[in-house]
């Protein structure tokens, strides 16, 4: 049982001439969580769960492989290089490996630490740097600008800009799936949830507590209806809902693409906001945001001043499905449809919520719940992965849609805006749009509840 030193031990001399890769190696040595790296016992149980391993069959594209690469870079017997960076980029960040791991290795954290180091040190193209800055710093954290973008998008749809894009040849340089994406993008709204229903919504029936609604950034522009429905459902389930308008973006996209500093800033801001709102729980209706918010306490682990508040914040995050299930029963009405469910990776693997969404779907009168084969596998959306790795993303999506087709469902439900868009895109690509629609869980429940309200109104009128 002797330890065999790597044959090419200490290949890297970090004191050699400063190159960006060298700097990256040094940074990884400092910032990668050594405990997590050591906790991986290399059993390989995560391999079958990993979509990129399934796509390529390559160990380097598996969680175990990626951890080995990180460890090799961390321990200094491999110099990180463009291939290292590509391998970290190629990961979907779906964290299916975490759910499969017996040793509870938090792969997501290691990935974020690697990406943060890469964002800081790896040489990037000007275009990439520009885009990153524009979206992550210039847009998502700023409500006003997002809203403006929402309005512009709405305008873009209504006016001839659409025509311009096509005429000017822009459409030709956009890959096919982006053009398809353009078709399925919902009409962005210039009115967010607060503008629509205010900041406090009283509870109905027996009061179950006070819930802060995390409205998200894109969610509140592209899926403002869903946010509104979320608040209404919570109220119907007996929660007093508060929507502090000062809240900001969750920082998931920042953390996932290596903008760690920005993510920290956003986290502190959100903690403060919800602390002041004095809530029992904080509801998220997007798995991606929820999982990120739960990581807040780990994010700020080295910040003594914020530790206690961060812990308070992290432990109060609940997915909307959990709160609805625990609240007063919703007045759901008959919805005689076949309904299937695609898990959101971050809800399932990040927030560890499984079962609650399905239970809610099953509770809809007359609805038939059908299991989706491999419904717990990533759909390939993964943040902006479908933009950065269109081929892999579309391979994964098309395989998923084959399974979706087999369910013969009328409604495909999911719980995260990114996944929802991807599902809409998948339906479009598979030519299923006349047979099937994709809905957020919250919108589905609202449909079933509204039927009740309408029916209620009708009976009132009749009387």
């Amino acid at each position: 049982m002797t330890q065999t030193a790597p044959t090419k031990a200490k290949m890297v001399n970090h004191n050699a001439a400063a190159s960006p890769w060298n700097e990256l190696g040094r940074k990884l040595a400092l910032t990668l969580d050594t405990e997590e790296l050591t906790n991986c016992m290399r059993c390989g149980f995560c391999l079958p769960a990993c979509p990129t391993y399934r796509e390529t069959g390559l160990e380097a594209a598996s969680p175990r492989g990626r951890i080995a690469l990180m460890k090799a870079a961390h321990d200094g017997w491999m110099m990180p290089d463009p291939a290292f960076q590509q391998q970290m980029d190629f990961c979907l960040g779906c964290r299916a490996c975490e759910s499969a791991c017996p040793a509870d290795v938090r792969f997501g954290r290691l990935l974020e630490q690697s990406r943060a180091a890469i964002a800081e040190h790896a040489p990037q193209s000007q275009r990439e740097k520009g885009l990153r800055k524009l979206f992550l710093r210039g847009l998502f954290p700023h409500r006003y600008r997002l809203r403006l973008m929402g309005a512009t998008l709405a305008l873009y749809r209504k006016t001839g800009l659409h025509w311009f894009v096509h005429k000017s040849g822009l459409a030709r340089i956009l890959p096919l799936h982006l053009r398809q994406l353009d078709r399925i993008l919902p009409a962005a709204s210039s009115q967010g949830v607060v503008e629509r229903i205010g900041t406090v919504i009283p509870a109905q029936g027996k009061k179950r507590g006070r819930v802060g609604l995390f409205r998200g950034c894109i969610m509140d522009v592209v899926f403002a209806d869903t946010n509104e429905n979320t608040a209404r459902l919570l109220a119907a389930a007996g929660y007093e809902v508060v929507i502090p308008p000062e809240q900001t973006c969750c920082g998931a996209l920042h953390a996932h693409s290596g903008e760690e500093g920005e993510a920290l800033e956003l986290a502190r801001h959100n903690i403060q906001t919800f602390r002041q709102a004095d809530v029992d729980w904080i509801a998220s209706n997007a798995g991606g945001c929820g999982a990120q918010l739960m990581e807040t306490s780990y994010l700020l682990k080295d910040d003594a001043k914020w530790q206690a508040d961060a812990h308070w914040f992290s432990t109060r995050i609940r997915d909307i499905s959990q709160l609805l299930l625990a609240g007063n029963p919703l007045p759901l009405q008959s919805l005689p449809k076949r309904i299937t469910y695609q898990h959101s990776c971050h809800l399932q693997n990040g927030m560890k919520v499984a079962g609650a969404p399905e239970s809610l779907i099953r509770s809809i009168p007359d609805a038939t719940y059908v299991d989706l084969f491999e419904g717990d596998r990533c759909c390939g959306s993964a943040g902006i992965y479908n933009l950065t790795h269109p081929e892999t993303s579309m391979n994964i999506l098309d395989e998923k849609m084959n399974h979706v087709k087999e369910t013969a469902a009328d409604i495909l439900v999911t719980t995260n805006p990114g996944c929802l868009l991807q599902m809409k895109l998948g339906i479009e690509r598979a030519g299923l749009h006349d047979r099937m629609e994709a809905l957020h869980l919250v919108d589905l429940l609202m449909q079933s509840m509204k039927k009740g309200e309408n029916a209620h109104e009708r009976t009132e009128k009749a009387q």
Binding site: T2, Q3, P6, N39, R42, G44, P48, A60, A103
Partner: protein
Amino acid sequence: MLKSEMKAELVAVLGDAHVRDDTESRVSYSYDATPLYQSMPDGVVFPSTTQEVQSVLRIASKYNTPVIGRGSGSNLSADTVPVNGGLVMVMTRMNRILEIDKENLTATVQPGVYTQALHQAVEKEGLFYPPDPSSMKISTLGGNIAECSGGLRGLKYGTTKDYVLGLEAVLANGEILRTGGKLYKDVAGYDLTKLLIGSEGTLAIITEATLKLIPLPQSRRALVAHFDDLDAAARTVSAIIAAGIIPCTLEFMDRKTIQVVEEYARIGLPQEMDAILLIEQDGPPVLVEQDIQCIHRIAADNGAAHIAIAETEADGSRLLAARRSALSALARLRPTLILEDTTVPRSRIADMVRAINRIAAEYNLEICTFGHAGDGNLHPTFLTDARNQAEIERVEQAFADMVETALQLGGTITGEHGVGMAKAPFLEWQVGKTGIEVMKGIKRAFDPQGILNPGKIFSDRSLPRKGGT
């Protein structure tokens, strides 16, 4: 990195995408599931046909380069760690089930098929392939054959070696060897099929296997028994077998494992107990019922503190989940898990467990023991931290003591995980000088250049045997 002429020849055969010698590829095939071992290969190849395997081996022979066959790299004996560099040959592209023959009850498969995939495919046909290593979700049949993997059903159904009827394999020089076939009776000369089983990639590369299938049992039923006395548990195991009952599963967890599992899974295990037996029987419902009742009686007669029979199959699965979550529970406790694999005659289980506990105390180590009580195959598992050099040294000494004890009790240094590098220093203790010489002779006959998985099974670091414990 590969020599450029050699790489060119490999690329000519396999294509660019299936020959890799970049840093990422080499790092990611430098390890397997064995803690503490790692070493870089010069390159990695991914053949997809027997002919490609042949070509790779011919090229490797020409350049006198080691070739290490690899399935999923889930083995626990450092068997796929390329200690001498060379080529790692990954077999997972050869992953087709070629035939399920319902008339002859056989399945013919390529080596890269995942064990569980075969289970699912044959069970759809009402057939059964019993070997079920705990790693079956990822381990390949090629890896299973090369390691002679066992599993939870070993007692009643045997291990991989009992299900391999025929093999196609490529020798180091590129020649194809065919052994056995679909026949259940086949005694022509030496049993080369059996010789290749458990050969750990040192004799030939397996490219196809014909496996024996049996009918799928109609039903199964589980029972759990708690003991506050280790000997009572051991007596129960022996008494069940002596009564002529062979359960399909007969698993054991020691006190330490129970405590750890309970702390992790909170499934209501009694933490004050010394041992738990998890027993399952399968077969026609009437016989299963009869056996389970009989086992219940035997356990009670031998002093079980508590016995429960699962009402349904699902209930049974929940009971057995306790054993299955053992690994997760242990893995979360300390960073490094060294999962060992000693086997003793089943009548000596209590002696072995006691010896393990004594050794743990002596070297101040944490060792949890669980395993397949029915066949005496125990997995004493060291909970440690690879970064703690002093502790790792104590682990090594403790492990040597443990091996010594197992041999004295009439056991073996490995029940199912293979020798590889991890056990190589102890092989001579078990098979003696003559055994080693005969094995080396066989190795020379198959692979005169010594290019197939060098550094495994045979060690140049023979340890002096302590004798006595």
